[in-house]
Structure formats: C-alpha cells, structure tokens
Symmetry: D2
Subunit: 232 residues, 4 copies
C-alpha cells in the first residue's frame, strides 16, 4: 500500500491499463470497457487502474471503482497555455495520477522533472515511462512514484518481456533501487498474459502497464482474470 | 450563417473566447464563466463560442447554449496514441469545432493539413491560427472553415490591432480571399474592447478570437456586452 | 535560368541530390561522391546540386563546380542560439541555397515562413518540402524559390511516382501556379531512373529531389547519366 | 587529466566557451575569436575549449590549439536523416566532444541517453546540460563525461551564481557524486568574472561553461585572463 500522507493511493502490485485512443477506449464504449474492468477485478488483491485521454477523465472517474490516471500532463500552472493539460484540472476532474513521458508523448528531461514536481504539488501520483535501464536510473533521480520501463522493441509486439528482455526489468529494478528506493518499477511492455505478469513480478517489478492486449481483446473479462491471476 | 450540410454551424460575425488554462477558465469556475458568457450574449446577433481544454469539453458542452470548441486536436485516428486529442472524441464529447495551431501549440504544416482534413471527416469546424499575412494565405490553401491571424507582437499585450497593425488583418483578408474565398478570417490578437471589435470587422474580418481580456476580467458581463456591441 | 537579381542561380530543370547522413555522403567519402557527381553532370544541360549536412558545407563548397545546398536552416538571426543552423553562416560557408521542412526535419508553418524570409534576406535559394497537393499550395503562398513535393508513401520506397501517384505532382503544379506562379515545383520522391525523371518533367515539374537512389548506388556515374538523360 | 583510453582528453578545471551563433562567433570572425582565445589561454594550467556550430567545426578545428566541441549532436547513425548532426561527422571534422541538451536545444531523456552512448561509440566527450539539482542527478545516471548545470534564471543574466544560487552547483556536485562519481560537474550559468570561476570551483565544480560574457566582450583577451585567473 503506497500512501502519500493524505494523497492518493494505488495498491501494489498493480495493473495499469492504458486505453490510448483505441476505438474501444474512448467515450461511451470506453466507459463500458471501464465497467468491464471493474467487474473483472472485483475481489482481487491486485489493483487495476485505467490511464485515459484527458477528454474522458471526468466522466470515467465519476463513480468509478477503479482509480483513473491521465495519459499525460504538461508541466505548467494556471495561465496562458492553449491545448495543454493542466495538472490542477486533471486532479479536479477526478484522476488520482498520470502517466508522464509515454513513448508516444516524449518530454525533455527538464519537463519530466517539472511534471513530477507539479504532481507532488497538486496531489497526483506520477508514473514516468522510460525506455531502458539507464533512463530508468535517470528518472528515478527525479523521484516519481512509479516508473514503467518499456523497451521500444517490445512495445505493441507479440514478444514477451519474460523471454526476450528480462534483464531490462530486473536491471531497472536494481539501478532504480540504488538511486531512489522509493520509486516503484513497473514493466511497461511485452506483457500479454498472466504468465508474463507473474514473470514481471518475479523480476522485481511492482506491476505492469499494458494497453492493446486488454483494450482490443475480444473477451476483456477473460484477459483481465488471466492477468490478475499472474499478480499472486 | 455558415452551414456544412448537416454539419455544425457558427454564425458570423462571431467572438471566440479562448479559456486557455486560466484559473477562471477550468473546472467548476470555468463552468460558471461559461454561464456568464451565455447570459451576456443572449439576444445578441453575433455568436459567442468558447474554446476550452479537452478535459472540460464534455461537462461544459452538456447543456451549453454556446458552441464549444476544443483548443487543439491531433491529426490522428483511432489507435496507439497516448496523451493525444482524438478528433472523434472531441466530437463525441459535444464540441462543434476546434482551434488548430494556436501560437501556444504550433504544428507542422503537414499536421495542420491533416488536422483540417480530420475535422472535415468527423464533422468539426476548424479554426487555424496564423501569425502574419503570408501564413494566413498559406493556411487558406488548406481549406479550414476559419483562420485567426495573431501577430505575435500583439498577443497578450495592451496594444490594439486597430491602431498598431491593421494591415495584418486587412492584408490577410485580401490574400485569403484570393487563395480560398470560403475561409473566414478572424482577428486573433490585439482586441480588448468593442471599439477594437468594430475595427476588426471594418478591416474585413468575420469576428475575433480573444482570451485574457474576457477570461480574467473583473466584470465579465460588462466586457462581453462591450465586445458584442462592437459586432454591430 | 532562375536569377534573383545579383543572387544565386540554379538552372532548371534540375536534379538536387540529398546526401542525408549516408556513410557515402559525409566527410571524405562525401567529397569523393561530390566529385563523381561533378564529372557525371559535366556538359549536361540540366543542373545538378547537392544538399549536404551543415558540417560539410564549407569543404564541399570550396572549389565545387556544383551548387551546394544546406539540408536545413533555422529561422533565426545572430544571437543566443545553440545547436542551430544560422542562414548567414550557411551563405558564408559557400552554399547557394537550402532545403527547408524536409520530411525528416519538419517545421511549424510560422517557422517555414520565417525561414523563407531569412533566405531572401541573406541571398539563399529556398526549397521547401511538402507532402501533398494541399500543403504544396499552402507553401506556395510563402513564396519560396522551389518546393519539392514528397508523398510520404513514396519516400525511400521502390515505387515510382510516375506509376503510383502522378496526380500529386501534376496537381501540385496546377495548384501552386494559381497561388504563386513564380514557385518552381520539384518531384521529391518516387524517382529512381531517367524514365521517372522524364515523367516528372512531363507532369509539369521543374526537376527532382532524390537521395538514396544516387548516394547509395554502386555505380554513381551510371545512375547520374541515366537520370540526366531523363531531363531532356 | 581526464583520459578515455585512447579517446579525447580535456584537462580539468576547464572553461568551455559556447560561441552560440553570435555575430562574433561564426565564420571568419569566429576564427579570429578562436585565435584570441588561444593566445589568452597559452601557458595557463586550466584548459579552454570552444563549443561551435556544426558548420564551423572543421575549419575551426583545423590547426586549433584548443579543443573544439560541437554544440549539439543527434542520437543517430548513418542513414536517412536530413538536417541532423551525425556523431561520426563531428568526430571526422575534428571535434573532441559535444554539448548535449543545451537549454536552447532540449532533447527527450531517451535521446540524451542515446546521444551519450553514441559519443562513447565514436570517441567524443559528452557534456550534457541540466537545469537543476534533480535533473543533474538524473543525467549522471546516463554516464556523460561532464554535465553543466544551468539554472534557467541565471542564463544570460547579470546575476552571479556564487551570490544567487550557489546551492544549485554544490547540490548538483553532491547528488551527482552519489549517482555516478565519474561525471564531472561544470557550472553552466551565472559566471561573468574570475571571481565567479573561483567560486564555482570552490563549490565543487570542475569548471565552467559560458558564452556571451566572452564572445561579445569588447576585450576578449582581458576577460579570458580574468576567468583563467579564477581557475587557480
């Protein structure tokens, strides 16, 4: 159980499902998907969260049993910014945290640092995405709550991290612990099944971040049950 | 009256108020601002629209008497995009249009062209921001519904476009008409009062895009009444 | 013959060879490639130019019989910019022009406009890359000397523009002529052979921009002779 | 004395002068400036290096007594990149190292990591710029040879780091040592005089990175002698 004083909490191990902008993951159909995830994860030890587009945060968060993450925030405060995602607005809309620096939305290192700081200020959990062991260690120095390591060659592919690049996860866990042992490492790519989840946990991670494997699944409930079984 | 077949409509002359991420323009306080704008513009010939952050579109649009614009869309379709603004989602959340390429959110020319096309496909009005006469003429070739010319030296300042750079507006109107006479030109900076609005219309524009002058005003209703008087 | 008063000249029809950062196109080997191009194009009507990395402009331009283009400039003047390409420096180093907005180095529309203006101020020829008919028409309004239209689906591929997308070239020529008939249109992708060059000219273009087909060729001289034959 | 096997060397303490694209720092006048720096630093213990635009590397490095740095490299290898700075080309042109992630040329964290790796592969010294203590610690994890911390509020200003923000330098030195004690910390802003240099060294740094104070000085030799006196 991670607690930030009176701040938001997300139990680990956890599964964060990134809805991206898949047709199944936005608006009305996205809300249905969220309810499917709620039902499938009910009664399980591990916690499931959903990372959704800014436009959907408020109506997804309203009444949701699962914590909602934004997919991105900008490292800004109130003022003259157009087309940006204000951390205060993400919090007010009901999200408990946010992804930062996803491989599809990269930031400069100065902006990642500023975004993590802004999360702390407004009371949002931060989960920064990284692409290898070195950048995991680097991000750990910025003090986010979580980081999700996504080896680019595994993103969206069919290869499992447990078979193909286990050292990226275990190496990130070791290096991150040395730099800042409060940062939880998630496995951010190469996870398709409960077996992969179990392997990710075995490698020292505190959970997984995944997307298409759940969002575009024919039987979402079955996939989620399998993934959750891997958390034990 | 601009009509896109069965698509959205925005009467001209118009005033588009960009809420940016001012403290007064998001969440609960932003909703109150929107209601103030509704009341102030009731019964006026000219149409008022609000350009708001993606996170606020749905709850602002729900029951709004004023058309809602997004501040930005990404030129993407369904799929693997994280932290982006999907045109389909903007439409589904209740917006009738979107700003594109605001000076605080610049895009490449390829992306502007693709964003305008995506607006047409999903039935959103497009309003592309430009920074001088040349870029206004260039954007006109991409066929947006509106373009708002914002000379950088006037943005956020106290100088009025009517006194300082009237030729940017009148020049944009002339050049745009030659390239594509269906594109309506708005005056996107240097407008603080009804007198400025009247001057912008006199220079050939179809309305104005403004922000802080309204959003951070002490008496929003009074400012709006003054601006609307300038439309006549 | 294009003449800008006392400015630089590039005869049309022309072939601009983009050296990119291929191993064959930089430093000592790049200089050898340039000499091969010089020899192969000697005595031909059509003019051949080389677009090279900033780091190589000075020593390639020194004594070159072929005009040298930069691959990029930044729309800046003297001052506090680090890691940028100053137009004055490109001119002083001996280049006669520059590519702008190549598909591998996209700029915002405001920056393209400013870069074209800076070229005029310092006396460099400008060649702006575009990706379809609409963006070609848009760029024409900015008044560059040339534009090179590169349909993304043809870049680096084996498909010929003459067979696959001839209407992108002919359509660009028509639209550009209406917006600004001083702008010369080049065919920027899908050209592999003299037959493709001939087709590009037949479609109304003033030449071609190409890269790997020449730079990575086993027999550069033979390829160039074939391409130049297509210009007639 | 820093030695990378058979790689490049830069003695510390050092002064790196960033020529930016000041009128005094490019082309012929820049070469004259470099010779002035050579003369002024002759016989001094501390080492002076010049960070220059890619276009000037080759002719500045040719015969230079001072080591030349590039202002930027792209994290790329040979291939289809246009308008980019290839590490191999920087090396071949005669530079011994490069700045990375300058405040005027920010990169994503993934790209900084990749650029540092590429420097190691081709035998270039890497000096990554950071903006505060947290990002200094983060960058240390990526293993560059140097990092230069530049508090944004001191860049280009008249305030001295020794009086205004000494804890940013001393704090960076402490945090960097914990993460990776092979990384040398430079003071990258707020240095105008020999007194500032002495203070930067006293705070634990291995030297300074500065620009306008030298490049735009009326009497460059006098300024350099003063700065070098501060290294002792």
């Amino acid at each position: 159980m991670l607690s930030l004083g009176s701040g938001p909490v997300l139990r680990v191990p956890c599964i964060i499902v990134n809805f991206k902008v898949y047709q199944q993951g936005y608006g009305k159909t996205g809300l249905k998907l969220l309810k499917d995830l709620e039902r499938a994860s009910k009664g399980h030890e591990g916690q499931v969260a959903a990372a959704v587009a800014a436009i959907d945060i408020r109506h997804f968060a309203d009444g949701s049993a699962l914590p909602i993450f934004s997919q991105h925030i900008d490292p800004i405060g109130f003022g003259a910014h157009t087309g940006h995602v204000l951390p205060e607005a993400v919090k007010e809309a009901g999200a408990v945290g946010t992804l930062i620096n996803h491989s599809e939305r990269r930031l400069t290192i100065a902006d990642i640092g500023a975004a993590v700081s802004r999360c702390r200020e407004v009371g949002l959990l931060s989960c920064v995405c990284t692409n290898n062991v070195d950048t995991s260690a680097a991000v750990a120095a910025l003090g986010p709550d979580y980081l999700a390591v996504e080896p680019p060659e595994l993103i969206g592919g069919t290869v499992s991290v447990s078979s193909a690049r286990p050292e990226v996860v275990s190496g990130s866990v070791v290096r991150v612990r040395k730099v800042n042992d409060k940062v939880k490492v998630l496995c951010g790519a190469g996870v398709k099944s409960g077996k992969d989840v179990a392997k990710a946990i075995e490698l020292g991670s505190s959970g997984v971040l995944l997307a298409s494997g759940v969002v575009t699944a024919k039987d979402v409930a079955a996939v989620m049950r399998d993934l959750l079984a891997g958390l034990k």
